[in-house]
Subunit: 407 residues, 2 copies
């Protein structure tokens, strides 16, 4: 007998009818001899409805009270799904996060899981129950209800899989797996049967929002096989695992892109130690996350400094940079919010040279100018003008043969 | 400094705007130097919305899961009210029933409160917080969420007032107090400044649904002054207290009536020991509550047996009675669902004779035939044809001078 933890997102449980379909699917796994723990999100629209109520009361709700409010969303779903399972003759029992208990720190709205006591869930599994757990929520050491932040249900599922030593953690969503790139951009995009945790982290953090980054990190750290599947269609989905030596890797696994970045540049500041921190210090103090950073030293004792921030931090970052530029006596401050970042991702890059040059050549062939480059062990990212997004991604998808299965 | 427990029902917190008005009222009490604990129900309509979702899943939801579902209703309200208090600068904190904790037995859907640990609430009060508690819910000794049944928020408020040794428990509702009778029937009906717990119990159980019976019983048992007030208008409401010797009582405090009863009669069964239990045994086994019971022995060795049951038990009770009548060889089985019960209530009856005869004479003067009579220490109830409801209540209200304050 294997133990599976399944997670169904808000769209998958968006109506009583869909909750019934989830119950059917869960029972199908039980009949095949699996023990099943189900983690669910709030019904789609419910979290926004609750936040809307709060906004009618106050523009800046206290975070403890907001967690109290939002935690009801998943609580409704666990009760309804458990009823649906019972109505189909399957023994089942629901638990809120605090009931499990899923213990977290006290960072309301973005709490981190510290410990889970699996005894209660194990006891119910042992007596033939499906256990239905509210995702996204926990309890701190004072007994206050916390939430893990939006999308945190994935993390709940992976954490439960870890403490229960589950054989697999399955994330059911509205896509049927992880693709080589966004199928809306490249019609040839192909579902990957497997991807490594590291690749998935790069794909996710670069904007392929299939899974929450924290959930993938967690699963990787504890080596829990993670599978992404569709709630609405049959199929094997994509299995996310550790790299296996026997796997024959493609050079490139997928292409991610991110429209959400903007670029800021300070040109011609004195090239001396400490200039980077003089620029990035005030940005960090303003709680603005910086993604790519590039510094080029010129021949005249000055240096150019370019970095990217998320679109909704653009205005604040620009004001700070203009201020810093003036103080440092920079020649010029430039900014651009019409850029896009395109990244090749693949563990194959570790052992194969020449991928970067093939990428740059492919883009050059299409007349696409590269404005920034950043590389890591398993990815190469470039920033280009936003208008080249589709052209660039399609050219790279074809150049690296991603529409075909790896040999 | 006095400690007040206030309870606001679903209509009083039905919209974010109304929740804001409740916050204003609570803060008004704080400014007058009171410590305040607030108990709230689910926003009006929310419980029905949740039950509607469950009904789309299954016709007979498991009661544990139904409690899990319904408990979210009050949890939403406590979060929103606490946000509203904080937004107005008042320190406040919310707790679910399980968080307080309010400990109950495990009778899902109709749990009884067994104990409340007041330490957490007291600690927050001591640091200047308004404490907002979810009504209607608790937790059993296994950590499962329970509900006290519909309207149980009144009981939560009274139980909290008891363990906190509050100076007063205030129930805010959509009426501004307890009236001598239903003002929709008698336009002269007068708000009572005071009423005793016993009278209130009779008024409530007879259909004046201002307060939950269990809450009144509880308040009476622990001698917590209970006040009914309107959420929407200013006023002193009605104070429910123990009878004070110094109070000059009116003969009759109020007139209650109940349209929800139906009458069943078995005529001409053999008058022997055990006939009452032969008739009422099967009724009790079918879980049907009997209200009034009257037995008249005839001169021919037979007896007539009449009793009343709630309207929604009428059909089931009639089938049982027809079956019993046949087995007992009754002359006839009669039934009537077009009746109404009218009751005079007042602790003054204890010490004044002649009230019953004045009641009967008043009804006779109006040509109203009395079909059943039942009396207790502080009430006299009669069953009459439904069509005489308004006529009878108005005549009695005038005959006993209820439109005037007691001398």
């Amino acid at each position: 007998m294997t133990l599976i933890v399944q997670k169904y997102g808000g769209t998958s449980v968006g109506t009583p009818e869909r909750i019934g379909a989830v119950a059917d699917r869960v029972i199908d796994y039980c009949r095949r001899g699996h023990q099943v723990v189900v983690v669910v999100s709030a019904m789609s629209g419910e979290t926004d409805r609750l936040l809307g109520l709060a906004q009618q009361i106050t523009e800046s709700p206290d975070l403890r009270e907001q967690d109290m409010l939002l935690a009801t969303g998943e609580q409704v779903t666990i009760a309804l799904l458990t009823m649906a399972l019972q109505q189909r003759g399957q023994a089942a029992r629901s638990y809120t996060g605090p009931q499990v208990p899923i213990r977290t720190d006290s960072a309301y709205g973005k709490a981190r899981i510290e410990a889970i006591d699996p005894d209660r869930v194990r006891a119910d599994l042992a007596t033939g129950h499906v256990v239905v757990v509210a995702g996204f929520q926990g309890v701190d050491d004072q007994g206050h209800i916390t939430t893990l932040g939006r999308g945190g249900s994935d993390t709940t599922a992976v954490a439960l899989a870890t403490v229960l030593q589950a054989d697999e953690c399955q994330i059911f969503t509205d896509v049927d797996g992880v693709y080589t790139t966004d199928p809306r951009v490249v019609s040839d995009a192909r579902r990957l049967a497997r991807i490594t945790f590291e690749e998935m982290l790069e794909m996710a953090s670069l904007g392929s929002k299939v899974l929450q980054i924290r959930a993938v990190e967690f699963a990787g750290k504890y080596n829990i096989p993670l599978r992404v599947l569709s709630s609405f269609t049959e199929g094997e989905g994509t299995l996310i695992t550790y790299e296996e030596n026997t796997m024959e890797h493609a050079l490139v696994t997928g292409i991610a892109f991110n429209r959400d970045e903007t670029q800021l540049t300070i040109l011609g500041v004195e090239d001396r130690p400490g200039v980077a921190s003089a620029i990035l210090g005030p940005i960090a103090e303003a709680n603005i996350d910086v993604d790519m950073i590039v510094q080029n030293s010129g021949h005249d004792g000055t240096t150019d400094f370019t970095f990217t921030v998320q679109r909704n931090d653009y205005k604040a970052a620009l004001e700070i940079v203009q201020d810093i530029g003036a103080r440092l006596g920079a020649r010029e401050v430039k900014s651009d919010n019409k850029i896009v970042k395109i990244s090749l991702v693949g563990v194959g890059m570790r052992t194969h040279a020449g991928i970067a040059s093939r990428m740059f050549a492919t883009l050059a062939q299409e007349g696409i100018n590269i404005r920034m480059i950043s590389t890591s062990e398993i990815k190469i990212s470039v920033v280009v003008d936003q208008k080249y997004l589709e052209l660039g991604v399609r050219a790279l998808h074809e150049a690296f043969g991603l529409e075909q299965e790896a040999a």
